[in-house]
Symmetry: C3
Subunit: 256 residues, 3 copies
Amino acid sequence: MLRRIHDKKPLIHHLTNTVTINDCANMTLALGGSPVMAEDLLEVEEMVGLADAVVINTGTINPDMRKAQLLAGKTANRLGKPVILDPVGAGATTLRTDFMKQLMEEITFTVIKGNASEIKTLLGQAARTKGVDVAEGESLDLQSVHAFASQTKQVIVVTGPVDFVTDGVRQHHLDVGTKRLGQVTGTGCMTASLIATFLGAGYGRFDAAVFGTYAMGKAGETAGNRPGIGSFRTGLFDAVSLMTEESLPEVQMNGQ
Amino acid sequence: MLRRIHDKKPLIHHLTNTVTINDCANMTLALGGSPVMAEDLLEVEEMVGLADAVVINTGTINPDMRKAQLLAGKTANRLGKPVILDPVGAGATTLRTDFMKQLMEEITFTVIKGNASEIKTLLGQAARTKGVDVAEGESLDLQSVHAFASQTKQVIVVTGPVDFVTDGVRQHHLDVGTKRLGQVTGTGCMTASLIATFLGAGYGRFDAAVFGTYAMGKAGETAGNRPGIGSFRTGLFDAVSLMTEESLPEVQMNGQ
Amino acid sequence: MLRRIHDKKPLIHHLTNTVTINDCANMTLALGGSPVMAEDLLEVEEMVGLADAVVINTGTINPDMRKAQLLAGKTANRLGKPVILDPVGAGATTLRTDFMKQLMEEITFTVIKGNASEIKTLLGQAARTKGVDVAEGESLDLQSVHAFASQTKQVIVVTGPVDFVTDGVRQHHLDVGTKRLGQVTGTGCMTASLIATFLGAGYGRFDAAVFGTYAMGKAGETAGNRPGIGSFRTGLFDAVSLMTEESLPEVQMNGQ
């Protein structure tokens, strides 16, 4: 466990999908954070007030969840709390694309993390998706992402074979991870929870984005020798829970 | 991973319960498919249009989910997409039995997979259930299932100690699996996801029903030497993710 | 598996949160029970009628779930079925605290199981929480808990480094478990499912509360040698599924 996170045990409020909600909770705990999920409109604002960071994930939206996510994001902005967007499925359906536009208009995110299709959609570019996964052969001009980050003052993470992080000033490429991470549902969602946990512990937003993304990639490498995807998945949680400051040397020097 | 599925990576749209939704996603991935869960009424039709197969599972219904499932099923029929029903809990409550009737009246399913109690309920026979599990000693006349499949042009899978698959013309008995599959929640739900993945990859509906059912049974046998149910459950995902064409020799010959 | 539970295979109806709902189902199965989750207002009463015990867990409430939980609890009382409350997050938000008051006014629980913050909130004492976890340094006067149990005729379980069980007459301290149980989400929720399974199998309410709490602590100890939290978590299910009558010798003598 990482000391700074362990000492603060930041409370990470998730408004997320029902598919990977358990994984997000356990991954937050694995890194040393404290997850909470609360989506009743009558308690969203109060819970955001208690939280150290907020995660908004659009994996399985419905009318109530959309209202709760807008309310949570706006409350986080008002209170100056870090809020991260995982725009799952952006571009896949009109509803999701429209909802992303609304989120982008009404909320300023501390970090936005998505795959190439999702980020393209947020940039207003035509994207090709396969449900909630990036379509094969999807390409993305990283300089347009950098410009978007600069213009909107949001850190953007594009996950892929090489992950890309930009805050509009700095850029970071992470050549870490394994293709097998795509064979387990929710590794993207869990990456957002990791970033949020770093944010909630007080790391800067660029560092948090790099560290969280790195942690998941590194966990994939560590677990990579387990043959089936069930064991590999278990190994991801093992690896994150056993990480120490020393696990992230390059990135720390780079980020601080 | 199986070649034909791996090459197409079919998109499997699930409208399913909150208990085993993560397992269904991971099992779809384990076999080589791409899962997506979308239940907002504003995007159901569009997502069905993108999908290669649709799974409707009644494990935890509520008014919105019931509407979404009816809409998804009717859209699948209209677009000629494969749609599979897992009638979880049919017969357990009046609501579930009534909802099944409505599903059967308004939608023609490519495959219906259930335990003896659930299939009896669909056939209009009095069934004995224990919540979402089959009651002990429940018996089912397989010839009435065969006749029902013939009459309604739907493939029916009855899971049990020996699984039974019929399309109204052909019949197949599968003596594969282990009692321990009943000690892990969602192995039935996951079987439906496996069948849907075979369907979405373009296998014929009878073959897909046999292969999906066989894959789960075989995974149970492969994982069977792991002592506790936690490890056994992990082993199910391992086994499916490591399956190859050669894992299913008899069934392929039989089904093709 | 424990004989008495195995023979009856009690049906445990859960109205619970979306974070740990799968874990609760699998833990119920691991002990030998049969889980069912049904929250549609149109079937709640009928399902309670079929169940051997009911679990109400407030981890992720919303307006419909709150109605369903009130209906389930009142129906259980009317039908004389055991009903257990896991007041997740009591004290964290006004909504949760108010909802707990309503639950306590309208329903008599067979067993209430919570951490120190949650139980303090139920007692009307000011509590400090961290989302759904107990705040560090939270203290609780156990004699006030004992008095509350006596006055309301409910068994109360306070989980913590040493667990405390009281029915207002008897008291039991359980020095079992490991801090690592707090690093996996839902171990508290799963404890409620275990208690409910003992209740549903016909154990007395004080015994069931002690046994269920003990089983989770013991599972934590058994799994404690697995290094990462992914493997540790898998080990919890393994351990419970491999428990036998002999696993609980002291407690049985104590409780019967």
